[in-house]
Amino acid sequence: MKNIRSGITFGIIGGLLTFLFGGWSVAVIGSLMGVGLGMGLSGKLERKNPLEIAKSVLPTALVAGAILVLLSLYQNNFVQEAIGKRPAVEKIVINANLIAFLGTVLFTTLLASLHGLPEKQEQRWKMILLGLLIIAFPFVDKLTALRWTAQIIFALIFVILGLGLNIVVGYAGLLDLGYAAFFAIGAYTTGILSSPQHGIFMNFWLVIWIAAGMAAIWGFMLGAPTLPLRGDYLAIVTLGFGEIVPVLFKNLIDVTIKEPLTCWILPGLFKLFGAKTTMACITLIEHEDLTAGEKGISPIGRPVIPFINYEFQSSNPIPWYFLIIAIILLSVFIIRRLRDSRLGRAWMAIREDELAAAQMGINPVRTKLAAFAMGATFSGFAGAFYASYIAGIFPSVFDFSASIIILCVVILGGIGNINGVIVGGLVIMTADRLFLPALKDFLASLLTHTVLPSISDPVMQLAVKDNANPILYRFLLFGLTLVIMMAVRPEGLLPNAQVRAELHPDETPVVEAETPKTNKAKKG
């Protein structure tokens, strides 16, 4: 019964989403919904024969699919008219809804029934299925002309940023409120090294590593003097750093670097002794426009695949999509290895209790520095990709709100959990990039065809039209989401086991697989 209820919820949410996008979107939404529902259900079910599981979830899947299709048909026949658009061609409607229904039912039952396999196999099959879906997505997107891939790429950039920040905040427990600064450093390194700004055109595949390295070096430079600070004090310093960096990039438009000895120190000394000399001052850089200030660096070089000489185009998001997927896979691999390493354990010990960690023989400053530098490295990757993908960078992109959004990705997804951060990044950024703009268009056309004609006062009409724009309220909605999350599920969507244990001490403790059975006897 509970399963049926989640089926109904999924169906309604999916159906309402079709209101915003229309057309073929129902097929994609149906398939994605099936995957989500199947994954969600499989966690709650008992492990038994796959066929039995399939049978037991089939009603749920059918209900979800039916609701989705019903809402989608309603959308096509009534809502489209209400917002002043013509219903889609009958052939498309039938096909799309058929695919949506089958996709929902198939993926829900398939993913849920995988739970009937032994755990290792279940994991492997789920990975294979997800991998296939990830590969298929941009092509399906292109076929159905939804144009979601370009926006999903933004979400994936924030996934990398979230993964990097998760090292600092989630693993080492250091609150970093200026993380976007490292993102900016990565992006500007790329911008300076491969743009007409300075006439340097370095290969993207080289620049991305330089950008990551630069970000790491700056992470190190910021960390070295400040990491002996703790808790709130560190957060304030990072906040300041996050403010300084974009301002710096905005103002590095007239850079002069002179060699100090011949320009100031020696003439100064001579002046001190009353001698009057003019020295040939060695100037390294004079009046150089490093970052182009407010108007930003543009265009920026794009990656070229060697041998076949294919240059990435901004009109075709598919190569970019696979590039960022590759970067994410690499990042996840590295971060997982780091987490399970000696260094990862040291981070966790520092997060738990810095003093006790020092007693265990962990060098606190060096360990925290490593967290800062590693975290910054990943934002360097993200920055390089971002600069190249957008082909232009502007200082205002990297302000405080960017740092906060990245922090929210980590908190919403589940602090300390890699999968959680990935989900958090996708949810926040798709909501921001896909959902809100679509909602804006939907509301605008809905109002134009319903409420607006009945308002006689033109000023009032304009006011209603302008204010019914959800993009204006994105930070409000964002804050509201966070408040609700903190009240209802403070550990995030997919929490880290340790955080969950802390926030819900009444639940039975999670027992690690390799440990023998715990004796649930009375406490001593």
Binding site: R342, R345, A346, M348, A349, E352, D353, L355, A356, A357, A358, Q359, M360, G361, I362, N363, P364, Q498, V499, A501, E502, P505, P509, V510, V511, E512, T515, P516, T518, N519, A521, K523, G524
Partner: protein
């Protein structure tokens, strides 16, 4: 093995240790007793490097500890079971014990040492997958001691192992301390429970407001008038 010479330690302006000198010989149990604020825990923190002495020296097997940071001192074989236990609350018992072995380079005997800790504290084995923070006070004390033992220390600093424990558990803990010592671990024990501490120790120091006021064999201290009156409650 361990020698403190005229150690002065400050907390800001507060002069907490006013010239502490003491020695711990190889294989001994030495106890520091004294009332609240006498400087017992500060002495241990100074040895461990968590507080730096303003003057004086702490020498351990020829190395000057007061010049080293805390994490390097641990690596030399000084382990502490700190006051208030300071276990890692969100790590499991197993992970806590593993953290104890962080400084060790020889990982071959790790399994044996783990078994050794579990023979000393069978309770910990029962709770191996449980989070440290969900253990009871006594279990946390056992975990703190077990974690310190996992470092295979040359000297074990124990800060108030009996604090807040039921009398039965206190006895158990002291038996284990004695057993550890018999197995060859040197122990510096800080206690408020002077009777228990003196009964297992070889020698003892009495601390008052940051100074050593008495130093003697444990059995002689036990008979000392001042100690009896102040710390043992004998009228």
């Amino acid at each position: 093995m361990l020698e403190l010479k005229d150690v002065h330690t400050y907390y800001g302006n507060i002069h907490a240790l006013k010239g502490i000198s003491l020695t711990v010989g190889d294989g001994e149990i030495v106890t520091l007793i004294g009332s609240n604020g006498a400087g017992k825990s500060t002495t241990l923190r100074t040895i461990q490097g968590l507080n730096k002495p303003k003057s004086g020296s702490v020498v351990f097997n020829g190395t000057e500890l007061h010049k080293l940071p805390a994490h390097e001192i641990s690596a030399l074989g000084v382990a502490q079971s700190p006051e208030g236990r300071m276990i890692f609350p969100r790590m499991t018992v197993m992970e806590n014990l593993e953290m104890g072995a962080y400084v060790r380079k020889d990982l071959t005997s790790l399994k044996d040492d783990l078994d050794h800790v579990f023979t000393l504290f069978p309770r910990l084995k029962e709770r191996i997958g449980q989070k440290g923070g969900t253990l009871s006070g006594g279990e946390q004390q056992m975990l703190a001691m077990g974690r310190a033992l996992m470092a295979k220390p040359k000297i074990l600093l124990l800060d108030e192992p009996s604090m807040g424990l039921a009398p039965l558990l206190v006895e158990l803990i002291f038996e284990i301390i004695k057993k550890l010592n018999e197995e060859g671990t040197t122990i510096l024990l800080v206690e408020q429970n002077a009777l228990m501490a003196l009964s297992i120790a070889d020698r003892g120091y009495v601390l008052q407001t940051g100074e050593v006021v008495l130093a003697d064999q444990a059995d002689k201290l036990m008979k000392n008038d001042m100690v009896q009156k102040t710390y043992l409650g004998v009228e």
